[in-house]
Symmetry: C2
Subunit: 357 residues, 2 copies
């Protein structure tokens, strides 16, 4: 039988609550054939008379038979299941990743166990134990921020393991993260292309790797555009900080920027708010670009916010594909893989609304 589960018994009756689900033996009895025959008929294996095959299938359908994956799993040592542990409280970042992952794996008949570690090593360990007990075929770890190092050494798990939007100390670990540097380059290059000359960068705390990488991309783009002006302001990942940064940025009129590249959409909102308080026109006087492309934020500002999209859903799909490969036996080299970001252009930076690769 192939690795894909047998066709579900669509349209058959469903056992009512409390009823024991019909087993393959029930089908065999009802169809008047042996268990082996039923298995073959249902899985399309071996040679069987078409007649028998059809008859068995009919009976199975009539009984509402659904093979017991647990038994299958036990037999062939594959549970058609992967575990996912998030320390994000299922927040904004984990969500789209999980969605992509789940969509990808669902095609293979694999379900995802989601567990919330809530940054608690004890809970995390407990979840790992449980998942191992369920003999998951693979594991995915996600963190709140891309450079969070999972608290426990889980790189020696007995199953293929992937880090998504997270990295591990272990050089053999496979990590999938958005390419922050490229994302920042993209954003800033777009601004320079539009003729902006004095681009500031208002971002998160410097201790985040993402912050350092985005800063690098920012500086790269400035350099390759031959611009002298550069200014980076670090602060918390909050809307308030964006608002306050404007005060700082505009304290000295002589160093006033003509564009602001923000480290997150939240910060960008604060920035836009601050600019509006000073009646500075967006994008005419100042262009603003955000990071995350969080719909709710990006489309609520006036004008709407141009923002870097980390393609998290795509990241999740990619994770699914790679995990499947590993489950099938491939042994990819460890290391950090960075997937490209996209720039979604809206009104806040001038130019035509579009999408930039």
């Amino acid at each position: 039988m192939s690795d894909v589960p047998p066709p579900p018994s669509r349209g058959g009756r469903r056992p009512k609550f409390g009823e024991r689900a019909p087993t393959i033996r029930d089908v065999a009895l009802a169809a008047g054939v042996s268990i082996g025959t039923v298995s073959k008929a249902l899985n399309g294996q071996g040679r069987l008379r078409d007649e028998t095959r059809a008859h068995v299938r009919d009976t199975a359908l009539k009984l509402g038979f659904r093979p017991n994956d647990l038994a299958q799993a036990l037999h062939r040592g594959k549970s058609l299941t992967v575990g996912m542990i998030s320390s994000d409280s299922f927040g904004r970042f984990t969500m789209p990743i999980m969605e992509g992952l789940e969509a990808c794996l669902a095609d293979e008949g694999i379900s995802v166990f989601l567990c919330n570690a809530a940054d608690d090593p004890v809970r995390e360990q407990r979840h790992i134990e449980h998942l191992m007990g369920k003999r998951v075929d693979g594991m995915v770890f996600t963190a709140r921020r891309a450079d969070h190092k999972p608290s426990i050494d889980m790189s020696r798990l007995p199953v293929p393991t992937l880090f998504v939007y997270a990295t591990s100390d272990d050089p053999n670990a496979v990590c999938l993260v958005p390419d922050d540097q490229q994302g920042a380059r993209l954003a800033v290059a777009h601004l320079t292309r539009l003729g902006r000359k004095r681009i500031a960068h208002v971002t998160g705390p410097e201790r985040f790797e993402a912050v350092r990488l985005r800063r690098a991309g920012y500086l790269e783009s400035l350099a390759s555009a031959g611009l002298e002006y550069s200014r980076v302001l670090y602060g918390p990942w909050s809307e308030d900080w964006g608002h306050d940064a404007i005060a700082e940025l505009f304290a000295d009129p002589s160093t006033r920027p003509d564009a602001i590249f923000c480290g997150s959409d939240l910060i960008a909102r604060g920035v836009i708010d601050g600019l509006r308080e000073r009646s500075i026109a967006i994008p005419d006087e100042i262009a603003v670009v955000g990071y995350d492309n969080w719909d709710l934020m990006a489309t609520a500002t006036r004008p709407r916010l141009t923002s870097v999209d980390m393609n998290l859903n795509q990241l999740g799909r990619e994770a699914g594909t790679r995990l499947m490969a590993m489950i099938r036996g491939e042994h990819p080299g460890g290391g950090i893989v960075r997937l490209p970001c996209t720039l979604v252009v809206r009104g806040s930076c001038g130019g035509q609304p579009t999408q930039v690769q």
Copy 2:
């Protein structure tokens, strides 16, 4: 053996990648006893010499033995697993519910399969089939909005089923939702208690049950405070709508409110934005209250937003408790259970920041 899984083999070695996980037979062999003895020793069942028990436990630990839940499940017909199907794309509402549910069930050693139906009946059906194949012990359905009726008749599933933040046509279905009417009453009562006399309600589309219920609560509170003024404005669930509603609300100065109860925090943000554009002081001239108590929104406004909290996490926990009861064999009467909301008081309505039951 009790229903709770045996203590995990903390601290034992873990089988390396690709290695077959040790089975109970391996332990028996290594310990020089029979399989049955190992089972008894590990599960604390039957009578065994303390010595033997300890010895077996040690060996199991040394081997990194972890019982195979699949085999256990197969044997006792319980998979220690529940499925959760969301059509919310794992959005803001499903997340905290899932978190509460998972936290509650994790205590019982149960894991949660999360599936995203994405409002696609075909995908939903496929997910249900898969979960049934995995013989989940229970199912939880969640929707984007509390009054979404799941597309397929799933109330006749062969396992205990619960609807959370969702309802079903089936009168036998058990549905858990936040008490919208009470939440609205809470918010408006707070405003009247603070002396507001002209309270308007800016909310979502009338076709949502939540909108109608909250309106009812709003009107109730007005009535019991003996207030005449009432005004309800319906629109989309967007920030823009909140902003636009202000224009509508202030078109005629004679009908100007002194407080606005919003149907969501998003709308409230738009409202606050609109008020600020007109330089109307919050809360001095107008008090504002939101709904959802979405941190990111409620704490980003100036002043911070007073808002109704639906206690979704608690809703999830409650769901877990009830589902467990059903799994254990209880048959609760069907119907809609409404859980109380809380009011989180911040600066936007005057008065002391606090929490109101």
